[in-house]
């Protein structure tokens, strides 16, 4: 018996798919989206570095940035404002807690933040995965 679908490919190519291809503009739009995604992506290490910087004592934003700089964490270099956005987000996520002393906001680790830090040190690969959805949210 003849296969009724034998000519399907040529039939579709000549009809609904005629002049229908994924244009260069569309491809560039994908590349553009990927680029934006990369720029605003925080690395797990950055978040961990922030948590570590306040694990023993509470610090204000400026001192955190100094400590990050000493640790060679350059994610916020020339872009310091971004650090405060991330701090705010970590606070919203209840990883950090804060209080105001002399018009400065001091951050310290919350129990949730301590837990994150502890599990990260225990098993860095696993933690990297479970932090991912959180990092994604941080990029929004």
């Amino acid at each position: 018996m003849n296969d009724p679908f034998k000519n399907l490919k040529s039939s579709m190519e000549k009809s609904i798919f005629k002049d229908f291809s994924f244009s260069n503009e569309r491809k560039n739009a994908v590349r553009e989206a990927i680029r934006t995604n990369q720029q605003s992506q925080y690395h797990t290490e950055t978040i961990i570095a922030i948590l570590e910087s306040v694990q023993h004592e509470s610090k204000d934003g400026y001192n955190i940035s100094v400590q990050l700089f000493q640790k060679n964490e350059r994610a916020f270099q020339k872009n310091e404002g971004q650090l405060y956005t991330l701090l705010h987000l970590l606070e919203n996520k209840e990883m950090l807690t804060s209080n105001w002393i002399n018009n400065k906001k001091y951050y310290s680790l919350n129990s949730k933040g301590k837990k994150y830090l502890a599990t990260y040190k225990q098993d860095s690969t696993k933690q990297g995965l479970s932090l991912n959805p959180f990092i994604r949210e941080a990029t929004l």
Partner: protein
């Protein structure tokens, strides 16, 4: 493609490496994916939007790709699931479907256009396939247009191979009925 698969399995992929993989996937498969999406949504602009989203999704999920399948079947699987999600979405059901109602209100120019399309030989088969219920259309398209094996289709759709065979057979019967109807 072998080279591509190897690229994709390194655990800590560099960002620009992931870029390259997506670029390569687009070069190789973007039209196939676009056409696949079209068979689900039957609208060119929506198909282009969804295909674009699919490649971005691939980029984001590239870390989760494991070697259990080829990167090609993995890409198709993401595409197929993305389309099905879209068809289930609130937007599609409420907005797109209600717009379709307008399509059914007869307008002369449209009718003429459709008549012309219908009468060309070439389009008969295409139209018949596009009007098949989704589960048949899907397997027919993947097998005959994208030229994938049943084993690959099974991986993409998570449907058992024997079920796929039955669906192909049933699709042929449906097609025959349709052709007889038209004659």
């Amino acid at each position: 493609m072998k080279e591509l698969n190897q690229l994709a399995v390194t655990d800590e992929m560099m960002l620009d490496e992931r870029d390259q993989i997506i670029d390569q996937l687009m070069r190789e498969y973007s039209d196939d994916i676009l056409h696949l999406v079209y068979t689900y949504v039957k609208n060119r602009t929506i198909a282009e939007d969804l295909a674009q989203e699919i490649f971005i999704k691939c980029y984001e999920k590239l870390n989760q790709f494991n070697r259990q399948s080829t990167i090609k079947t993995w890409l198709y699987r993401i595409a197929s699931n993305h389309c099905k999600d879209y068809l289930r979405s609130w937007h599609y059901r409420k907005i797109t479907l209600s717009n379709k109602v307008f399509d059914h209100i007869p307008s002369k120019s449209k009718q003429v256009e459709e008549e012309v399309i219908k009468h060309s030989e070439e389009n008969n088969l295409t139209n018949a396939v596009m009007n098949l219920p989704l589960k048949y259309r899907e397997v027919v398209f993947l097998h005959y247009y994208e030229e994938l094996s049943l084993k690959e289709i099974s991986k993409i759709t998570s449907v058992n191979i024997n079920t796929l065979k039955t669906r192909l057979k049933r699709a042929k019967e449906l097609l025959k009925d349709k052709m007889i109807e038209e004659v």
